[in-house]
């Protein structure tokens, strides 16, 4: 049923969204690597005055095992205010939660009891497969439906990967999004410049390239993705492809500017096979075409062979492994996860061509194993991985698992499970919140991946109206 006035969590402009009240709860995808127990959505209390602040206060087990929860998203967001097909009286209440390994999707209602989300619909792998795709990954609430990127085809674990569309209200699978995909074959993340009718996609690998772990032969053979694709959002056709160079393996997370009058965005590259560095690139328009420019380089750190997992011992160094990035709603700060070295970096990107590092926090890391200040005796495995930023930009949440089989290669003695909260100073600078660190047994043997904040966060909404 629709509302009489717009959902209060929808904001026409990024500036309005940055003034949103602080989140009371966070939802975290938790999965069992052994596929013995069901995966779950964990609910965390984020209200500082609460007695249960920083604790797991809700838990919704899924009915199956082996889904491997990963990314997820809201059924509706601020794009519902966009004037071409407005529908602002729907509610932001459902989490669309895909199983990356099982290709099953769940629709989970958070409205009736936000601390006990309830599964209201299940889309079977066969139903999702009708779109032609499998391994659903990223969810975005689009102007005309819910967009779901998927890594592989529906038949054999190969490509192409692409985007499927779900109906906004029934959540039925409507089908494949692309009308003409050109030579695009690998898929991973996607997002858009809504007011410019541009959709951007990035590349990882097909399911058979990733599901059993990172394949050194494929990596050194430069077979993982290294391109960005720019599409016409309304015609659903590929317009332009930009190649970063095949040494830049795995162009993953896409973070376009939230300001709808701007046409740039950031993409993280996991690793360069030439020197194990990671990098951040900026896409922007030059004379009508998109160009991509490297704006941040993060070097690998030398390490003793005996401190390294077998996969890295031939290299004698820890790669930073930039696996996620996130841009604050005001487009001022870019957060960069270095999952290998165990660091979250904060850059001031007010001038997107010249980022300035203004903050850093260490946690975990393949060699460092930095503990959380509140638990100084616990050497942490994993590193800051999925980053989520509150709408007002004051709080950053990081979880530590990357992807089941890849966790096992880089952290072979166990990646553990933790969620840290970092406070942001107004002009930049990061401080770990000593009171907020759910970890270990609190997650009941599951690993934790993406966090979504109640009412929306920096990576869930897009806006059709500029701030001023």
């Amino acid at each position: 049923m629709t509302r009489w006035t717009p959902d209060p969590t929808f904001y026409p402009t990024p500036r309005d969204a940055a003034g949103a009240p602080a989140e009371q709860l966070a939802y975290v995808a938790a999965f069992d690597r052994t596929a013995q127990q069901p995966d779950a959505i964990a609910v965390i209390d984020t209200e500082p005055s609460s007695d249960t602040y920083g604790r797991v206060v809700g838990w919704t087990d899924l009915p199956h095992t082996g889904d491997e929860l990963h990314h997820f998203g809201w059924n509706a967001c601020s794009s519902a205010l966009c004037p071409t097909a407005p529908h602002p009286h729907v509610e932001r209440r459902y989490l669309i939660v895909p199983g990356l390994r099982s290709s099953r999707l769940y629709v989970i209602d958070t409205k009736d009891d936000p601390r006990a989300p309830r599964i209201v619909k299940e889309i079977s792998p066969e139903e999702f497969g009708a779109s032609g795709y499998s391994r659903p990954h990223t969810i975005h609430c689009g102007p005309d439906g819910i967009y779901v990127s998927a890594l592989g085809n529906a038949t054999d674990g190969g490509g192409p990967g692409g985007i499927a569309v779900l109906d906004h209200t029934t959540f039925d699978v409507r089908g494949k999004w692309e009308a003409d995909r050109g030579d695009q074959f690998l898929a991973y993340d996607f997002w858009w410049h809504l007011t410019r009718d541009v959709l951007v996609t990035s590349e990882w690998g097909t399911p058979d390239m990733i599901e059993d772990g990172i394949d050194p032969e494929l990596l050194l053979g430069r077979k993982y993705g290294h391109r960005l694709h720019f599409w016409d959002l309304t015609k659903r056709t590929l317009v332009q492809t930009v190649d970063l160079g095949d040494q830049y393996q795995m162009t993953l997370e896409l973070r376009p500017a939230h300001d709808p009058t701007r046409e740039y965005g950031f993409v993280g590259v996991v690793v360069s096979v030439e020197d194990l560095s990671a990098s951040i690139w900026l896409w922007h328009r030059v004379n009508g075409e998109f160009a991509v420019t490297k704006v941040i380089d993060i070097a690998a750190e030398p390490a003793a062979t005996e401190d390294l997992p077998p996969a890295l011992q031939p290299f004698g160094a820890v790669p930073p492994l930039v696996t996620d990035i996130d841009l604050s709603v005001d487009d001022k700060f870019l957060y960069v996860s270095c999952w290998g070295t165990g660091e979250l970096k904060q850059y001031d990107v007010s001038d997107p061509f010249h980022p300035v590092e203004v903050g850093s926090v260490h946690l975990g890391g393949i060699v460092r194993r930095t503990p959380h200040p509140s638990f100084p005796d616990e050497r942490l495995a994993g590193g800051p991985q999925m980053v989520e930023v509150s709408r007002d930009g004051r709080r950053v949440y990081v979880t530590n698992s990357l992807y089941g089989s890849w966790d096992d290669q880089f952290y072979p003695d166990g990646v553990g499970a933790w969620l840290a909260k970092i406070d942001v100073a107004g002009t930049g600078g990061l401080t770990l919140d000593p009171r907020f660190f759910p970890h270990g047994d609190e997650f009941r043997g599951r690993r934790v991946h993406q966090t979504r904040l109640q009412g929306g966060d920096a990576s869930s909404d897009s806006y059709c109206f500029p701030s001023a």
């Binding site: 629709t2 009489w4 904001y11 004037p83 097909a85 009286h89 009718d197």
Partner: protein, 215 residues
């Protein structure tokens, strides 16, 4: 047309113009995107034109046929369609996507035509067009009765659509300029009343009224 009909047509036009989904918000978004009041203002005529086309088709058909066929049959059939369409709009939560954000003026007219048609904007004029001439047959409507059932009668329908669209344009322009220049889009969060639901209810009411007046 009687003065009552003209007032009703204009009133419904203003009602359509106020609905952000019918176009003024699109004009505001285009203006804000390009940071140009001129872009906002030049977006309004194509939107009004699309609305006019959508409404005029219904109005012309109704006016041209209302005396050829027995007027009350048109009224009852039209009223039934209206009630059904209104209920469908009320109960269905489906929404449409016609186009992206970057449209030429021609595309913008097309967008407006489709948006108005999907919302059944023309149908809402039925009670005014079909029912009133019958019930007010002696109250001296303007065109001579001899025109009924001729192609000229369709022109009366087009004139009705024109009156409706002028009012729609005025309301739309007022909203767009006020929000763009003074109020800001933040007001949408509180003031964007679910017009679609009200709209659907109005349709059901208008349909019932049409049937009641003509039967």
């Amino acid at each position: 047309m009687t003065w009552g009909q003209i007032a009703a047509l204009a009133g419904l036009g203003a009602f359509h113009g106020l609905n952000p989904a019918m176009g003024w918000l699109f004009a505001v978004a285009r203006g804000m995107q390009e940071r140009s009041r001129r872009v906002l203002l030049t977006s309004l005529p194509p939107i009004a034109l699309g609305h006019l086309a959508s409404v005029a088709i219904v109005a012309a058909i109704v006016s041209a046929t209302s005396s050829v066929v027995a007027a009350n049959i048109v009224g009852i059939a039209g009223g039934t369609v209206l009630v059904a369409f209104g209920l469908w709009r009320l109960l269905s939560e489906r929404h449409f996507r016609w186009a992206g954000m970057r449209l030429s003026n021609t595309q913008l007219t097309g967008w407006s035509f489709l948006m108005s048609s999907a919302h059944g904007a023309g149908l809402m004029l039925l009670p005014v067009l079909a029912a009133t001439p019958v019930t007010s047959a002696h109250s001296g409507h303007m065109p001579p009765a001899g025109l009924d059932g001729t192609p000229l009668a369709a022109l009366e329908g087009v004139a009705a659509a024109g009156i409706h669209t002028i009012a729609m344009f005025a309301a739309m322009a007022l909203c767009a300029v006020l929000v763009y220049e003074f109020v800001g889009v933040t007001i949408l969060r509180r003031a964007w009343f679910n017009v679609d639901r009200l709209w659907a209810a109005v349709m059901v009411g208008a349909g019932a009224l049409t049937i009641a007046l003509t039967a």
